[in-house]
């Protein structure tokens, strides 16, 4: 058993595990999922097939797929790593990501399913002026998806360094390109149906993998959390059970919490998943499943994080390529040797693939359905032509993601994801809530809120310490930061709500017929899009 502890203690910078085995297990995953994608995608012709998987998934299937879509590499590797290094503060992060789902469950999922067809913009433009509102919603969709996509692709580079021993940037870039190309194949061949199955398989692997490791640590510690925490604190020689190790600025942490809890229900790739089920009742089931699985997974990461702190140790984690992000893989190696490391590595890669595929299909749908079909062609386009455009858009977006990922390689993943949540909470959520619940909401209100929320979030981020002025910034040598917080949510979310109100009270617009149709449809499901029977 000596070999298990050897890399962590004696040669911390050496490659851990067996590269051939890691790649082999990953290839098996790719082949199996590709086979399933091809099998389930025989029927992938209509727009509802490509965008919404024929609306034929059950609530349980969709709930598992949502879990697969939501638990990105940032949550798996990032949160476990944050807990391993910073203890309690890392755990705080995961609570917001879970509680946020109640916003989706209570206020958004069912009403959205009943009202829209394929995209977030369908709902937002329902009773307002089509072209300006659709354009704005597509712009914010593309912005949020771009940040999220970059985060995943940037994460792929770090993961490769850790798991395949590829440390030069050129080699990592090749792997990022391979990941991107695979993802394009999944999306083109499988559409939403294939993507959903990849997410279901990945979610199952991720939860089972994390569950096995959690049970393993449980057995080691006699299922006594207190002993585990004690060992973690002793080994780290740091107060891991006390807050304040990660979040030094209190207002910044509150700002991040606002962005997370209100951002989830504004993530376009999450919202789009609600169209893959036949009814609003199944949309509700989806969120119930997602909340249980995501909550369970975050409970696992609590044990995994402290387990890594106790068993692997801070020094070994920080010395590994990928630093914090390597806590979970190193723990897998410590517990189960090369084989478990290989499985967990493959799961981590699968995570990136599945999330990136979901983001790509969302961005391509928004471009083809909202911008091309409704804004440019004013609805005068056949569904077949629209899907053709969506497929081409997916290829372009995939190529852009590869290029962006190569440039963003090495950037902080958590920062990019937090950015996506801040933009979603500021640019999308206020308009979603206003249009579902406020009778007097107008086109001007929607445009003020979406563009105002997007612009203010981007501006404050550019002039924040995340971009310049600190040792951890994107540009550590420059300093043009005048905004003191890393996350802009505490300013931009209230501002966006205010702008939505201001724009609405200063304009008068009321489409009584469309408002009545939207409200009746959202609450009763009368006239909602039906599933396709194949």
């Amino acid at each position: 058993m000596n070999a298990l502890t050897f890399p962590a203690q004696a040669a911390p910078t050496t490659q851990v595990g067996n590269t051939t085995l890691n790649i082999g297990i990953f290839l098996v995953f790719v082949l199996v999922t590709l086979g399933i994608v091809i099998r389930v995608s025989k029927q992938n012709t209509t727009a509802a097939d490509y965008y919404a998987g024929g609306r034929a998934f059950s609530g349980r299937q969709n709930g598992i797929a949502i879990t697969g879509d939501y638990l990105s590499a940032a949550s798996f590797l990032g949160i476990a790593g944050a807990i391993a290094i910073n203890g309690y503060d890392g755990f705080l992060y995961s609570i917001g990501f879970l509680v946020a789902w109640l916003v989706a469950l209570l206020l958004v999922a069912e009403l959205l399913r009943n009202t829209g067809r394929f995209t977030m913009a369908d709902v937002l433009s329902f009773r307002l002026q089509q072209r300006p509102v659709r354009t704005a919603a597509a712009v914010t969709t593309l912005a949020v998806s771009a940040f999220y996509l970059l985060a995943q692709m940037a994460g792929a580079g770090g993961l490769v360094a850790l798991l395949m021993g590829i440390t030069d940037r050129g080699g990592q870039s090749v792997v990022i390109a391979v990941v991107g190309a695979l993802m394009i194949v999944y999306v083109l061949v499988g559409g939403m149906k294939g993507t959903t199955w990849v997410q279901i398989i990945k979610a199952a692997l991720l939860i089972v993998g994390a569950g096995v490791m959690t049970a393993w640590i449980g057995v080691k510690y006699g299922f006594n959390l207190s002993t585990l925490f004690g060992d973690a604190v002793e080994r780290a020689k740091a107060p891991l059970m006390t807050g304040g190790l990660q979040y030094k600025n209190k207002i910044d942490f509150i700002s991040l919490s606002i962005a997370i809890v209100l951002g989830t229900a504004g993530l376009p790739h999450v919202l789009m998943r609600f169209y893959t089920v036949p009814t609003s009742k199944e949309a509700r089931r989806s969120v119930v499943w997602a909340i249980w699985l995501i909550g369970l997974f975050y409970l696992f990461t609590l044990v995994l994080g402290y387990g890594a702190a106790a068993l692997v140790g801070k020094d070994a984690i920080n010395a590994a390529p990928g630093k914090q992000n390597s806590a979970a893989p190193l723990l897998a190696f410590h517990l189960g040797g090369e084989l478990l490391l290989g499985v967990i590595s493959a799961v981590a890669f699968a995570t990136i693939l599945a999330v990136v595929a979901g983001l790509t299909i969302t961005a391509s749908a928004s471009f083809a359905h909202d911008i091309y079909a409704q804004v440019i062609k004013r609805g005068q386009v056949s569904p077949d032509a629209e899907v053709k455009i969506a497929r081409r858009a997916a290829v372009v977006i995939g190529i852009l993601a590869i290029i962006g990922g190569i440039f963003a390689n090495g950037q902080n993943i958590a920062f990019l994801v937090a950015l996506a949540f801040a933009v979603a909470a500021s640019a999308n959520l206020p308009t979603i809530l206003y249009s579902l619940f406020w009778k007097k909401f107008t086109t001007r209100g929607a445009l003020f809120s979406m563009y105002g929320g997007l612009a203010s979030a981007l501006i404050l981020i550019i002039f924040s310490p995340t971009v310049s002025g600190a040792a951890t910034s994107m540009f550590p040598t420059a300093n043009f930061a005048w905004f003191p917080l890393n996350n802009p949510g505490i300013v931009t979310v209230p501002l966006s709500f205010f702008l939505g109100w201001l724009g609405s009270v200063t304009s008068s617009e009321h489409n009584a017929a469309k408002y009545a149709e939207m409200e009746v449809r959202s609450l009763t499901g009368a006239g909602a899009e039906k599933a396709i029977a194949h």
Partner: protein
């Protein structure tokens, strides 16, 4: 594909009639009466926790009963517990109360005997 813009007069009148009916007003009141207070409650509880985690660090780090488990950890796990509980309470309520009411309304819309 029917465009949303050329909704017929008749259809518009029908939706407006439904929206103005007592039965629909009751459904809307039932839905909002449940989800709005629930949303307010879970957001208040979550932000109370966030504020405690930020400003009451020593209180949150207090160990419980000679173990390494702290008040902050227990409150954090309680956030998980309340999230699961609200999820199940809502799902049960929506299945038992909301769905039958919405189904009845949809049926009355079909038959045209809306109150």
């Amino acid at each position: 594909m029917t465009s949303h813009d050329d909704i017929s007069e008749e259809r518009a009148a029908r939706y407006i009639a439904v929206q103005n009916s007592q039965e629909f007003a009751a459904l809307r009141k039932k839905f909002r009466g449940f989800v709005f207070p629930m949303t307010g409650a879970f957001l208040a509880w979550y932000f109370l926790y966030v504020l405690l985690a930020s400003y009451a660090i020593d209180f949150m780090a207090t160990p419980i009963g000679g173990t390494r488990i702290t008040i902050g950890l227990v409150l954090g796990l309680l956030q998980f517990a309340t999230t699961f509980a609200i999820t199940m309470i809502y799902a049960r309520w929506a299945d038992r109360e909301l769905d039958p009411a919405a189904a009845a309304l949809a049926e009355h819309m079909e038959r045209g005997d809306l109150r």
